[in-house]
């Protein structure tokens, strides 16, 4: 187990730079999730840590070693791939034991270790099977078994759940989390699914276009997103963002409507006003500080009711634990909870 420090890491393919000097510090035993839209460089960074991509410049430090130029086999890390990457010609037991076998470890010890791991991941009865005889979830577990069998300094997961169906994904999420709580190995987990990031991470690193947008605990990022991108990317349904100009009472939209703030801002600059769907209330039409909108769709999920409304072509989403009795086509007024408002200017957070 070890901490991982990534210092001013850059990656360029020929002249095309995809990772622009990022700094990430992952503590010993931490479960760190890299999340971002496709093409944001999260997998590239992970592959550089694994040694599967070369480092253009910067430093990757594992424990107290700079591992930039070490071949993957000498880095003492384990990786779980999106497509499992199991060896099709080997049985489950041989797949799990593979890393040990490569190190020339005695067969009887390997068998013992494989059985120990099979117990942890619940594959005891399938050890003699071949990968093609397993379901997707079982294959995923074998891949994890192969990773934990040799007790590496760090685990790397590259979108490990994206090939599984929704229900299994939720199950495996919990299992991976449990596994981590049990063995406490430093982990980097890459996903494009912000729900996975929120539910699994000790710390989330949000990446976009090869830059770190924000890094912090899931709730920190949810409660205080650093910029409009993070604000929209984290949370489902997405945060509502309104562009307008700051005024005495709050943010003034183009059509004159005013969104309230806790305290007035001195400046009169353009700003982005963000409010999460759960921080909107239905109030009487005409209430000051509310936005009028026409209900487009009402989606009850049981626990929550989601209302999609439109105003001037802009969509507004609101969620309610209660069950408001509104219908599509109805005109409603939505009032933001001023204490939970996010205010951005350009790429920076104002409040």
């Amino acid at each position: 187990m070890a901490e991982i420090r990534i210092n001013r890491l850059r990656k360029a393919f020929n002249t095309f730079e995809v990772v622009h000097g990022i700094d990430i510090h992952i503590q010993d035993g931490e479960f760190c999730v890299f999340v971002g839209p496709s093409g944001c460089g999260k997998s590239t960074v992970l592959r550089m840590v694994a040694g599967l991509e070369s480092v253009t410049s910067g430093e990757i430090v594992l424990g107290d070693r700079v591992i930039n130029d070490l071949p993957p086999k000498d880095r003492d890390i384990a990786m779980v791939f999106q497509n499992y990457a199991l060896y099709p010609h080997l049985s489950v037991a041989d797949n799990i034991g593979f890393p040990l076998r490569m190190r020339g470890i005695d067969r009887t010890i390997i068998r013992k270790e494989v059985e120990r791991v099979a117990e942890i991941i619940g594959l005891r009865d399938l050890l003699e099977r071949h990968p093609r005889q397993l379901s997707g979830g079982q294959r995923q577990r074998v891949a994890m078994g192969r990773a934990i069998v040799r007790d590496p300094q760090a685990f790397l997961f590259d979108e490990p759940l994206s090939n599984l169906d929704a229900q299994l994904r939720v199950e495996m999420r919990t299992q991976i989390r449990e596994l981590h709580q049990r063995i406490r190995t430093t982990t980097i987990y890459v996903t494009h699914d912000q729900v996975e990031a929120m539910t699994m991470a000790d710390r989330i690193v949000v990446l976009k276009d090869g830059r770190v947008e924000q890094s912090g605990s899931p709730l920190e990022i949810y409660d205080r997103p650093a910029n409009p991108f993070v604000a929209r990317f984290i949370g489902s349904p997405s945060m509502n963002l309104f562009t307008g100009r700051l005024g005495e009472q709050g943010l003034v939209l183009k059509d004159g409507a005013v969104l309230p703030l806790v305290r007035p801002f001195g400046s009169h600059d353009e700003a982005v006003y963000g409010v999460r769907p759960e921080h909107l209330d239905i109030v009487e039409v005409g209430t000051p500080g509310s936005l009028e909108a026409v209900v487009a769709v009402v989606e009850p999920t049981g626990a929550e009711t989601m209302i999609f409304a439109r105003r001037d072509g802009q969509e507004i989403t609101a969620t309610f634990r209660t069950r408001p009795t509104v219908k599509a086509g109805e005109r409603i007024a939505l009032k933001p909870d001023t204490s939970a408002v996010h205010l951005f200017s350009g790429d920076a957070r104002l409040n």
Partner: protein
Amino acid sequence: MADLKIAGAPKRSLLASVRENLTDGPGFLWLMMTPPLLLLALVVGLPVAKAVMLSFDRVVLTRPKLAGDFTFHNYIRLFTDIDAWLAVLRSCLYMSGTVFGSIVLGLAAALLTRRIVRFRGLWRSIFILPWTMPAIVAAMVWGVMYDSNFGILNQLLRMLPFVDANVEWLLNKSIVLPALIVVQVWNEFPVAYIFFLAALHAIPEELYEAASVDGASPFQQFLFVTLPQIKYVLAVIVVLLLIFGFRAFPVIYLLTGGRTETLTVATFNAAFRAYDFSYAATLGVLAMFVSLALVLIYLHLTLRRGKADAAS
């Protein structure tokens, strides 16, 4: 649909019933199979039958009076003919040599060009080029190079300080077989190359990445990932090249004028040097059984794989 209406209902139903009767049951199967089977019988079965008949006769052009009686003479002769069995041994050596050489060379070339990105097409063309050359042309070109007095091989060899005599590549009995094998390998290793290249490209890159993270050195990756993944293709190529090697004739015959007798060359010599068609046919029957064994292995391999694919 409009056409059918014009054609009229009764006619169509008659046609349909005829068709039904035809396509139902094994009769239709045999009807469809008969033309190709007849053709095969004509072009394959007939010559084979004729050869078998010849082998139980004594058709020797220089002694026409011997012909006409059923006899085991040729088979008895075959079992006591040391030269024939030496020819079989030479065939086996030739086969193993060419198979081994072609596999090693083809696999090496495929591994080398697999990850090449620049000039990929050029590299592939270079490695496939020898295969495009007919064996006869290849044999003639190598014949010039092997020439004892003027060949480039001896010219190069003579540049070495400790070599002071020309090597009789094709006349020296202990060198001629390897020399022939080199030509055959040069000519046919591209077959192995193409097979291997295709097989290598079918291996997911992720397996190598997983293996390298799991601590496998490049050699271990070859041993534990590449080799198991191309095992089946390897087996198929081995058998295919064994068949090629066993049937090889032009290279050996052209370069040695038939002095180096493998089973095929011995058969040719028996027929067209000694004019003993019956004995040649007997050698041919022996060759046929060897080929048959190889083909059966080949079919077993490929059919079993086909079934496994269908099952998974």
